[in-house]
Amino acid sequence: MGNNNSDTESILLVDDNPANLQILFQTLEGVGCKLLIAKNGQGALSIAGKALPDLILLDIMMPDIDGYEVCRQLKSNPATADIPVMFLSALVDTEDKVKGFHLGAVDYITKPFQPDEVIARVNTHLTIHRLKREVESKKDQLEHELEVVSEVQRKLLPKQLPVIDGFKLAVSYETSRYAGGDYYDIIEISENRWGFLIADAEGHSAPAAVLMAMTCALFRAYSDLPTDPAAVLHYLNKHLCKVADPSFMTALYAVYDAKRQTMRVARAGHPLPMIYRSSEKKAFEFDCPGVYPLGIEPYEIEIPVAEIKLGPGDRFLIYTDGLTERFNSDGETYGEERLLIPLATERAATPQAIIDAILGDLTNFAGGRPADDDQALLLGIVES
């Protein structure tokens, strides 16, 4: 019978009866794998741990350590847990078979066995085991590649936050998988004026990471001073329209004038900025008008720009929707209303402490359910 087995693969045969072992050995001589033998449970565990065979044929009734116990120990050791185990036993009761399967065996053959049947089943399990290993190795390779993408991506983010006179900053950036679609950047435009960009590619992982990297390259290649938020979004959109389909990118660009303490905001499908007014001790969403996300089609209209004056102690938060769309185990989302609460906290004063308060509240809310989208947030506080 044809098979894809190779002599780099091995099968461990375990039986306390030498005559049985010999029959089994002769039966499987032709399958093309190296055959290892053990005459008792202890020997089986020792050989399995060293040789890591591709399949184990295991007798149940043996003195000292029986087959069930051998199987249990193999499955509880990470090194041997993935080796498929087939029981070969004279025990014919359903109960015995079920017990074997419960312990993690892949098959159960009753003795006396039909040689052809044993060969066929052995080949099947070797094939399954081989395919499983291949899938795992491909998966490892893909994960490794994504890790590399993720490392490159982190290098695209600002290495450190700039020191702005009278405006303190903090940021948090987390990807849900290795690579993500969130991006933020801060640029010094001219004396006392700073540009803040936050963007979020629809989806996550590698395709989103490509859009994120494109947006970063485009933004840094902007040839004028990026003082006009509308012009910056028009420019990014013009270029992203050529590559984003069928995805898109939400973005918000804000220019802070440290002298006048004003923030001018243009928004493309991105969540509204949030403001905390120190004088009123109140946080709210800054309801600024916007246009649809970047990368869909050119804007035929003027992009609206909204301006807001900030005062001493005021907080300005921009974020990606991975934060507000984070689920808890009941399937509820965190939402904007909840986010306003830690933003208004009185217990913390520095931007980092407020971000920590937000993330702490979010973690509490999620209750152990991991994030399934990327999360970025950038917070600035006007110094009192």
């Binding site: 979020d200 069928p246 928004r267 493309a268 916007g290 929707d321 399934d372």
Partner: protein, 113 residues
């Protein structure tokens, strides 16, 4: 998420119930794509039972709208609840895809020449 579809008087209608998010968007996308393999150029989405919509869900609707634009066809979204309507407003999608208050008024939008 549940998505159903029917064709009546040359209009392909989809009803989406539940949550259209990153988990369910691929399934909805497949149903919509297959239904649009036909020659139709009138598409209606009944979103009356849609509880939640994420950006992945917006992408499904956007793909259908782009396809209708390529065909010189029409698309309309109907009966959005307040929450979903707000998502459309904040994300700017209301200027990309026409929205109607009810299925009846949606059919009227599609029937205009």
């Amino acid at each position: 998420m549940q998505i159903t579809q029917k064709e009546e008087n040359g209009i392909v209608s989809f009803s989406i119930k539940g949550r259209l998010d990153a988990d369910s968007a691929p399934e909805a996308e497949k149903v919509v794509k297959e239904a649009l393999e036909g020659p139709t150029n009138r598409v209606l989405f009944n979103l009356g039972a849609l509880e939640y919509l994420s950006s992945a869900g917006l992408r499904v609707l956007l793909s259908a709208a782009k396809e209708m634009r390529r065909r010189d066809g029409k698309i309309v979204l109907c009966s959005l609840n307040e929450f979903v309507k707000e998502i459309f407003e904040v994300s700017g999608f209301q200027s990309l895809i026409p929205i109607a208050e009810s299925v009846e008024s949606g059919i009227k939008v599609l029937s205009q020449h």
